[in-house]
Symmetry: C2
Subunit: 358 residues, 2 copies
């Protein structure tokens, strides 16, 4: 198929450090290319891809720092680039929320949009109700709950390339926390679990500007403990070592997590996950097989004590079956075909638009 | 004419306190109605207007505070409302930057867009180059300088209703500073001018969240002076008293001000303006007639000492001639007619779109 992938411009594809959406777009794009499809990636100019890259800005906007005052302007420009070339693709896969809906509606681009963020924000419901005809993909069934009435084409769980993380059979001696330090990620719970069990905790996490005050006032004091090691933000190449070396990943979230990429990255290393029941967690983690799903600190402490009952080879096998980039790509390709098959033939109006856009 | 005005949703129309764009939209809308035109205003639901109000959100988004996470979603929804009704208007006047360009291009809405912000931000140039066919209005000739290649329909200076501010013939005894406290507005210069001349300075200004650190670290210490009185943010009803009671308005800006509404508000009270040469200033202020244009502190101090040479009745008369809401409205109506006259007849493509949108 002739496929366009349209990524956000905040981070490069893949991102240099943290950045879930752009990472998933990178895995999906390269896997589509590997399977022989003709793929065009619309993304920041410093992206690295096996597809044909169409840069919509020179560098990832987040890197430019204070120099980028208006990131929206770059995204509007990118949508226009996509629209101009839309008729050379069988399908356009958008990863930029609702921003392209007005153009997609008017130009009859065969399009599908993966929702990467939380949908329990009332602000976004009216715009989704207005554009109710758009084909949407959820990254977990839980993510859909605030918008069951939308035109969902399917749920496609994220996937990670199989060779990116290695199974480590021998369990490590510490608990791991990986991601962002922010109120909804609840690193404070992870620290309390480490204290109660007496097992060391390593924290590899970034602190966004908006979370700096939270970090300073609520978290920094808790790090001053011989059990706790704070590593800051780490890159992809360090993650396999960091996650594989842990006896468990702690994922003590307190929000409707849409997916939670770090859970499957841990499983890829054979590391089981102890996660609080919220958002996608019950869909990703199989209780007593690849981890434990808990609702209280007591349950989390008990889960850590039973972690050796879980087989690390099973964790890896479940990752390969359910959360590889290959499986993700196959799911998306099936969806693309379904959507293309059900698109009505071009009407005179579409043809008029097509000419106008060419 | 059947006219639509499309305002930003951050503040109501008019805004409760500070907010230049929404204030100008309010004056223009009510004046169009007064002249017998059929006007529809797309704005936040708490707006107060003589036109037919089409609310695009319940309340001004800025008022909702932390509850509004995604203001963009409301604006995208509003554009869709406008597009659905576009064929019942002779012209749609947008005040929301470039956000509607993709829809306007595809649906052939007869549209004109006033640029209210600074255009010297490189981020926005590519999107304007892409949509180079859009009819734009500048609020000063200076504002156009970074984008001389755009499709400028004209410059329309802002205007204020004649009865909103009263001429005060007797000059007051203090200098006035009104607006925002931020690095580009240079209230520090105003304070230094007051100190050097020994004339009291009253400051009526808000501090945005982004400017709080600047205010605390650079400005607060300067306020501790018996010559300086800091009043915080004031409302419309207090402005006539505040501006009219001053011997001069200080406008010591250090950025390419697109217009600077406060200058004409001062003139409406008969109060002359001492302004630094930047942006729109030389177009608004007539040197030696309605104020003095300066480039250094020494020149500003000298200008304060010569302020009595300016006639306050002249200031008011110039306001009435050049900066009334009536004059602004007449200018815009002339532009609307020119644009409508030059719109080509609907093509089959337009008709197809029109049907599709209806």
């Amino acid at each position: 198929m002739r496929i366009a992938q349209v990524a956000p411009l905040c981070e490069s594809v893949p991102p240099k450090l943290y950045g879930g959406t752009e990472r998933v777009v990178a895995y999906l794009t390269d896997e589509c290319v590997r399977r022989g499809h003709e793929v065009t990636l619309f993304a920041s100019g410093d992206s690295v891809t096996d597809a044909r890259l169409r840069p919509a800005c020179r560098r990832a906007l987040r890197l430019e720092g204070a120099k980028v005052i208006d990131p929206l302007a770059h995204h509007i420009g990118m949508i226009e680039m996509v629209a101009r070339e839309a008729y050379s693709f069988d399908i356009v896969h958008f990863h930029i929320d609702y921003l392209h809906f007005p153009v997609t509606r008017r130009q009859r681009i065969t399009a599908v949009t993966t929702m990467h963020g939380r949908l329990d924000i009332p602000d976004v419901h009216p715009v989704h109700r207005e554009f109710a005809e758009m084909h949407l993909v959820s990254v977990s069934d839980a993510q859909r709950r605030p918008m069951p009435w939308a035109n969902w084409a399917g749920t496609v769980y994220h996937g990670v390339p199989e060779n990116l993380y290695q199974l480590r059979i021998q369990p490590g001696t510490y608990l791991a926390f990986l991601g962002r330090i922010s109120p909804e990620k609840r690193v404070d719970r992870a620290i309390e679990i480490a204290r109660r069990t007496g097992i060391p905790l390593k924290i590899a996490a970034k602190v966004d500007v908006v979370d700096e005050e939270y970090f300073e006032s609520q978290i920094r004091g808790l790090l001053d403990d011989s059990l706790i090691e704070y590593l800051g933000e780490i890159g992809d190449e360090e993650k396999s070592e960091f996650l594989g070396g842990a006896c468990a990943l702690l994922f003590p979230i307190d929000w409707p997590e849409p997916f939670g990429l770090v859970m499957i990255e841990a499983l890829a290393c054979g590391t089981p996950v102890i996660a609080y029941r919220a958002g996608s967690v019950p869909e990703i983690i199989e209780e007593g097989r690849t981890g434990y799903i808990v609702e209280t600190l007591d349950q989390a402490v008990s889960a850590v004590r039973r972690i050796d009952a879980l087989d690390r080879r099973t964790c890896r096998r479940v990752f390969e079956e359910r959360f590889s980039a290959g499986r993700m790509c196959a799911d998306y390709l099936a969806l693309y075909r379904t959507i293309c098959d059900h698109e009505p033939d071009l009407t005179p109006r579409d043809r008029a638009l097509s000419t106008a856009a060419a």
